[in-house]
């Protein structure tokens, strides 16, 4: 499933077995996205949350 990076416009390839919630990164600019929706072979991405001060184990 291909889509475009909203940051730099590069083609973003999302694996066909990706699931909602999974993270993908743009190979060109490293912008990180989260898979928001998959329907009829097309994928909708949203920017992933940024690392927070309270993130961790």
């Amino acid at each position: 499933m291909n889509t475009s990076c909203t940051e730099c416009g590069a083609t973003l390839a999302v694996p066909n077995d990706a699931i909602v919630g999974e993270l993908v990164s743009c190979k060109d600019c490293s912008q990180e996205y989260e898979v928001a929706e998959i329907s009829n072979g097309s994928v909708l991405l949203k920017p992933a949350e940024q690392v927070g001060e309270d993130w961790g184990e």
Partner: protein
């Protein structure tokens, strides 16, 4: 039995847990916590009876667990355990009170008091944030002038807990590695050394440390399980050090990451964790 695995960032661990549940015939659903809405204190229709809490954000995890327990669900780990593990002071208190060997630790409640605390503990020491992970903002303080500079930096932080209060811990002379044990209930699922990369003293996998399997001796096993019990038990990552004077437990992690450990051991960690979740669900 229906299990929900709640997350806010779908990492390798959460996917592996979901796959392990499917392989074991356990009905488990990955649930993105970011979209959940509750009418307090009712149960959420999309969640089962048991929740494996895997949120990466401590505050989101804590609030969600509070809500889930309030609605009568069983959560692994419980809110009490999460709160004890997410605050280094609470962890140290729990370990010390349970007679688990842990590094000498001081607390100072103001920027004025921290210099005296440092003098009493002795340099070098390690300054740690109360909340945080992956070795972030953990600093070796080697002298008073460095401490004074750090105080100025800390006073600029927005978080009141970290701005004026100080958690100081002895700098333990150890090999360039520590121990990570993954515990579920009263079993040690896996045990690895985390070896710091060149030029780095911290041993967090997030900082490039490499995991290597090893067999804990009887004394270490006992200390690891005692540490897990001291914070309330569940699925935990117990971190220990091995100075010449004997083992010391310095941290217990509530939402343990195990990708690094899995790369070093044959044991199927997610399968063992799901086995524990099933056992808890049947209780």
């Amino acid at each position: 039995m229906k299990v929900s695995i709640t997350f806010d960032r779908l990492r390798w661990e959460e996917k592996a847990l979901s796959e392990a549940a499917e392989a074991a015939g356990v009905e488990a659903t990955l649930v993105d916590s970011k979209g959940l809405i509750f009418e307090v204190p009712k149960k959420h229709p999309d969640l089962g009876d048991v929740v494996l809490q895997r949120c990466i954000s401590h505050y989101r995890s804590s609030i969600l667990t509070l809500m889930l327990e309030g609605a009568g669900l069983k959560v692994i780990n419980s809110h009490d355990v999460a709160e004890t593990c997410s605050n280094k002071l609470a962890t140290t208190i729990a370990l010390a009170n349970a007679k688990v060997p842990t590094p000498r630790t001081f607390l100072a409640l103001t920027s004025e008091a921290v210099e005296e605390a440092a003098d009493r503990l002795g340099y070098p020491f390690v300054l740690k944030p109360f909340t945080g992970s992956w070795g972030r903002m953990v600093t070796v303080v080697r002298d008073r002038s460095t401490l004074q500079s750090l105080i100025e930096y800390k006073e600029e932080l927005a978080n009141p807990q970290e701005q004026h209060m100080y958690y100081l811990q002895e700098f333990v002379r150890r090999p360039p590695r520590d121990i990570r044990a993954i515990v579920a209930g009263d079993s040690i699922i896996a045990c690895v050394h985390r070896i710091a990369p060149p030029g780095e003293w911290r041993t967090n996998v997030a900082r490039g440390a490499v995991s290597k399997a090893f067999k804990p001796d009887a004394e270490l096993k006992e200390i690891i399980l005692k540490a897990a019990e001291a914070v309330g038990g569940g699925i935990l990552g117990v971190d220990a050090m091995e100075p010449e004077s004997g083992y010391l437990v310095h941290e217990v992690n509530n939402t343990v990451e195990f990708k690094g450990a899995q790369s070093a051991v044959d044991t199927d960690i997610p399968a063992q964790l799901i086995k524990y979740v099933s056992q808890v669900a049947r209780r």
